[in-house]
């Protein structure tokens, strides 16, 4: 459709990183998401962060579940293996992949539904295991791919495009992660690339499970209406066409170094994003918890590197598994052989 043009996500750059690669080498084919989708902006930030992190593209493994967000691994790192699995099960699949080869970088992309609804138990247990990977939640408060139901991060009382109220309070993945002993917790915003890229770089460098919550607005089914009234008012003029998905400019804003910014959302309402105070200490679990509870109570969304503990061993370190990736051990290192089998069977006579 000539009227719907989608940006080729990252701007063309000719610069080269330490591996001699340009940012093009980190890109993928064109996105089929809606024009303006926050997830595409997140992809762009990810491409930038991967490039800046000097990672060999083919040493990265992209994983996801199912959802608009989970489609995005198609749209970057053309020369990395990708695994678009089933809804909610990316964490176990990543855990298994990581078990097989500890030497690659595992980058999981999930949605708020994929991660916090159907996949919630798995996410929690991957946190506990400290599986070395980045687990990125592209958080838009809705089920985008199934057209606008509330996700577990939708605000209490918000209205869907179908006119229903959300009756359950949201999950804050950061607070949740903290309660489970997560070792890396950070939040960014798809519409502030300058703010997001360093967060992603830090996550890519983390030697454990890095949970990154990226506020990534859905421009079609956004439900973030702060006030029911304002939204209801809008609805009278609605066109009532369910399969109309109008191209939209991506939602952008700059998170100030101090204070907060209100970001208006496509469906009405807004989200208040706040940077961390200068004296914020991301290593003190208790004060981080107090800070998160305080801001949640105020309806604010703190952004930045919220918590970090680099001292915790990852899944392999904890269990003392081979430094040589398990998938690279030769068969004769694994099979004890005929004599051992005979000896072993002495106990069964």
């Amino acid at each position: 459709m000539p009227s719907i043009t989608k940006p080729l996500i990252p701007a063309v750059r000719r610069e080269r990183n330490a591996l001699g690669l340009t940012i093009r080498d980190y890109e993928g084919p064109m996105s089929t998401l809606c024009a303006g989708c926050g997830h595409d902006s997140t992809t762009a930030a990810l491409v930038q962060a991967l490039w800046q992190s000097n990672l060999e593209p083919h040493r990265v493994v992209k994983l996801s579940g199912i959802g608009c967000s989970s489609k995005t691994p198609t749209y970057f790192l053309r020369s990395a293996h990708g695994f678009n699995s089933v809804h909610g099960r990316m964490a176990p699949i990543a855990t298994g992949a990581n078990a097989a080869n500890r030497d690659l970088l595992y980058l999981g992309i999930s949605g708020d539904g994929d991660a916090l609804s159907i996949g919630l138990g798995h996410l929690c247990h991957a946190v506990r295991r400290n599986v070395r990977m980045v687990y990125l939640i592209e958080n838009n408060g809705v089920y985008g791919l199934t057209k606008g139901q509330f996700s577990p991060t939708a605000d209490l009382g918000s209205l869907s495009h179908r006119g229903e109220h959300n009756l359950v309070p949201p999950i804050d993945p950061m607070l949740l992660g903290l309660s489970l002993g997560a070792t890396f917790l950070a939040r960014g915003f798809s519409g502030d690339k300058a703010h997001l890229v360093p967060i992603l770089e830090a996550a890519l460098a983390h030697r454990g499970f890095a949970l990154v919550d990226v506020i990534s607005p859905c421009v079609q089914f956004n439900n973030h209406a702060a006030s029911t009234k304002s939204y209801a008012a809008t609805r009278a003029h609605e066109l009532h066409v369910t399969d109309l998905a109008v191209p939209h400019a991506p939602v952008t804003a700059t998170i100030p170094t101090e204070g907060a910014v209100d970001v208006p959302m496509p469906g009405g309402g807004s989200v208040r994003l706040r940077a961390l105070p200068a004296d914020y200490d991301p290593t003190d679990r208790r004060s981080v918890s107090a800070f998160l509870h305080e801001h949640a109570g105020r309806g604010e969304v703190p952004t930045g590197l919220l918590f970090l503990d680099e001292s915790v061993p990852d899944m392999h370190e904890r269990s003392g598994s081979s430094r040589v990736p398990l998938n690279q051990l030769a068969f004769d290192e694994l099979c004890p052989g005929a004599d051992a089998l005979d000896a072993l069977q002495a106990a069964y006579r």
């Binding site: 083919h58 493994v61 691994p73 198609t74 053309r78 020369s79 990395a80 293996h81 990708g82 695994f83 678009n84 699995s85 089933v86 099960r89 964490a91 176990p92 699949i93 855990t95 298994g96 992949a97 990581n98 078990a99 097989a100 080869n101 500890r102 030497d103 690659l104 970088l105 138990g121 798995h122 929690c124 247990h125 295991r129 030697r207 061993p313 899944m315 392999h316 370190e317 904890r318 269990s319 003392g320 598994s321 081979s322 430094r323 040589v324 990736p325 398990l326 998938n327 051990l329 068969f331 290192e333 694994l334 099979c335 004890p336 052989g337 005929a338 051992a340 089998l341 069977q345 069964y348």
Partner: protein
């Protein structure tokens, strides 16, 4: 009434087969105890001693799903000809559980004996005069050996082994040797146990005319054999097949597969630490190392998952990434694995699942056996999904088929489900010693190396394919050229997303062809002809022992039948041939719905009207009379 007694008393009246009188190396003995009293190791001791005397023997656990206090039975069959199936008869009852004493007495065949703890059952109306009662004050006897109440419970068990050994002419020196091995390095424990054994043995020998008419006599029937349960041999199979990653969620009766695998790995896969060539800067691993001795590394990783969805997810992830990975589970767990098995089928990812079947539906009877997951396993997941299945019949085949499973899964890039069951997995069987050929190399299937990729112009995931309809895969991290996108959504032979009917069909049609091609790499059926029989009997898995013996018995009774045991799915052509070659076939299986029969008509073109069905599904391993009677009934005799 007890579960076990019910199995005998409540069996529908059927023409009783002529009862063979018990005899030397041909009798059955049941030990009735309560759960949680540590009797399992005592019972195993007795069975092992018989085995070491060269006499084929089997022991079946009839357990409750409970930790402590509920009745439990252990059925021992001694048979010099090597028959190991349950006979439904009991010639000697060691009635060690006061709670079930009356019905245990009732269960003994006329002419049989009851051994009981005279300390525990002081006053009983000895209602039967067709069985002999042998009282030994076991609790009293072991009182002298230990003060510790926990240990006394265990010593009483060893004492009844002593008494039984005297009664059955089990060589006490063989038992003594086994006890020495067992308590090696713990002399106090060994001494106490030896003493308890002697006390039981001596007491019985001094009071009773030992041995009983039926008893054990040394033979040479177990040379080259081992006494092993199927979960152990499965674990050994996984070790030998080179599995490096295992993910699981505990569930009876599959748990010991992973217990054993863990023990084996700790023994055979713990190696001196080395510094690797580290791609991402592997760094100071070991800082938090809790489980592996300093300076050592594990050439394996076992993850206890949060549930079975996660377990199979991890297995799929690890296999996708080039490790041999497996899980072990039972029915409820398998039901949770459907969606991810469908993904593995469609995205063509190897996976190995051991389903140690128990009695369903639902939670059912977790410590009872059945072969009732066949349909679930064959078609697990929505859509047009099918899986390769293996049906081991005993622990030996569990070992062999574990190796076959990994080879087939990797060669055909698809899940392979090995369907064992409680009977195979949790009971000790006499089987030929496990064999290994050091020249064996695993079939890792078509995986492209950097070199392979270098010689190719471009790589596509699902094309071209070989004459077995398998396309080469690549592993992450090996080469940028090998990168592709794995998905469970519609894709074409290049691996690209598609919704175009023909491109979609091209892939799923190839999958069907690939499955058919895989048949040739799976264990063929075992067939035994009995000269021109017009009737065939078909079975699978653990029903084998009872069905084979029944076939012999039928032949003896003038009803010759041919025999076929399927060992894998999809079925080999030989199965259809067998079906065609007989006027009538009877499928014997341990489930209510005749699931193997359903698979045979649906997938081997068996004519339903020529296919009879004998189904035993009470949860205890099928007995020989059940099979004999069932077949005769089907044949209208």
């Amino acid at each position: 009434m007890s579960a076990w007694a019910a199995s005998i008393d409540e069996r529908p009246a059927a023409p009783a087969p002529p009862e063979r009188a018990p005899g030397v190396n041909d009798f059955s003995c049941t030990i009735a105890t309560a759960n949680g009293t540590g009797s399992a190791s005592a019972n195993a001791l007795l069975v092992r001693a018989v085995f070491r005397m060269g006499v084929p023997v089997s022991g079946k656990n009839l357990l409750p799903s409970n930790i402590q206090g509920m009745p439990t039975w252990y059925e021992i069959r001694v048979n010099g000809d090597g028959h190991t199936a349950r006979t439904g008869r009991c010639h000697l009852m060691a009635a060690m559980n006061a709670q079930t004493f009356p019905q245990d007495v009732a269960a003994v065949a006329p002419g049989g004996y009851v051994l009981y703890d005279a300390t525990a059952v002081p006053s009983y109306r000895w209602e039967r005069d067709d069985v002999g009662f042998l009282g030994v004050p076991l609790s009293l006897l072991v009182g002298e050996v230990s003060e510790d109440p926990r240990q006394r419970v265990l010593l009483r068990n060893v004492a009844y082994v002593g008494a039984l050994s005297a009664l059955l002419a089990v060589d006490p020196t063989v038992v003594a040797a086994a006890l020495s091995e067992r308590f090696a390095g713990r002399p106090e424990l060994e001494q106490a146990n030896q003493r308890a054994f002697e006390l039981g043995f001596d007491h019985a020998e001094s009071r009773v005319d030992c041995p009983l008419p039926f008893h054990v006599a040394p033979a040479h029937g177990t040379a080259g054999a081992v006494l092993m349960d199927g979960n152990t041999s499965t674990a050994i199979g996984c070790l030998y097949a080179g599995a490096t990653v295992a993910a699981w969620y505990p569930i009876t009766p599959s748990t010991s597969v992973m217990d054993r695998f863990g023990e084996l790995c700790a023994r055979y896969r713990r190696v001196p630490d080395v510094q690797p060539a580290d791609a991402l800067g592997g760094g100071p691993a070991g800082a938090g190392d809790l489980d592996t001795p300093a300076g050592q590394r594990d050439n394996y990783l076992i993850v206890q998952a949060e549930d079975e969805l996660a377990a199979i997810g991890m297995v799929v992830g690890a296999n996708w990434n080039g490790a041999r990975a497996f899980t072990a589970t039972s029915g409820p767990g398998l039901s949770l694995m459907g969606e991810l098995l469908g993904l593995a089928y469609y995205a063509e990812i190897p996976a190995v699942v051991f389903d140690v079947q128990r009695s369903g539906p639902s939670t059912g009877m977790p410590t009872r056996t059945q072969q009732a997951d066949l349909l679930e396993a064959a078609y697990a997941s929505h859509g047009d999904t099918k899986h390769l299945l293996l049906f081991p019949a005993d622990p030996k085949e569990c070992f062999d088929f574990a190796v076959v499973a990994f080879d087939a899964a990797e060669r055909f890039q698809t899940p392979v489900l090995v369907l064992s069951d409680f009977d195979i997995g949790m009971n000790d069987w006499v089987v030929p010693r496990l064999q290994w050929d050091d020249r064996f190399q695993p079939d890792r299937g078509r995986v492209l190396s950097r070199g392979d990729l270098a010689s190719m112009e471009r790589y596509f995931r699902y094309a071209p394919w070989d004459d077995e309809h398998v396309a080469a895969r690549t592993l992450p991290g090996v080469d940028p050229k090998g990168a592709y996108f794995t998905r469970g959504s519609g894709h074409d032979s290049l691996g690209d997303y598609t919704e175009a009917p023909q491109r979609y069909q091209e892939v799923v049609d190839r999958l069907a062809a690939k499955h058919a091609a895989a048949t040739g790499h799976l264990p063929e059926p075992l067939v035994e002809h009995h000269g021109g029989a017009r009737v065939g009997v078909i079975t699978l898995g653990s029903a084998d022992a009872a069905v084979r013996e029944a076939v012999e018995e039928l032949a003896g009774r003038g009803v010759p039948v041919d025999y076929l045991r399927v060992r894998s799915f999809p079925f080999h052509a030989a199965v259809a041939d067998f079906l065609r070659a007989h006027d009538r076939c009877i499928v014997v299986e341990q489930n209510r719905d005749g699931q193997l029969r359903s698979l045979l008509v649906a997938e081997a073109a068996a004519a339903p009207d020529r296919l009879g069905s004998v189904r035993c599904y009470g949860g205890l391993p099928v007995t020989v009379p059940d099979v004999v009677d069932g077949i005769l009934l089907e044949l209208g005799r």
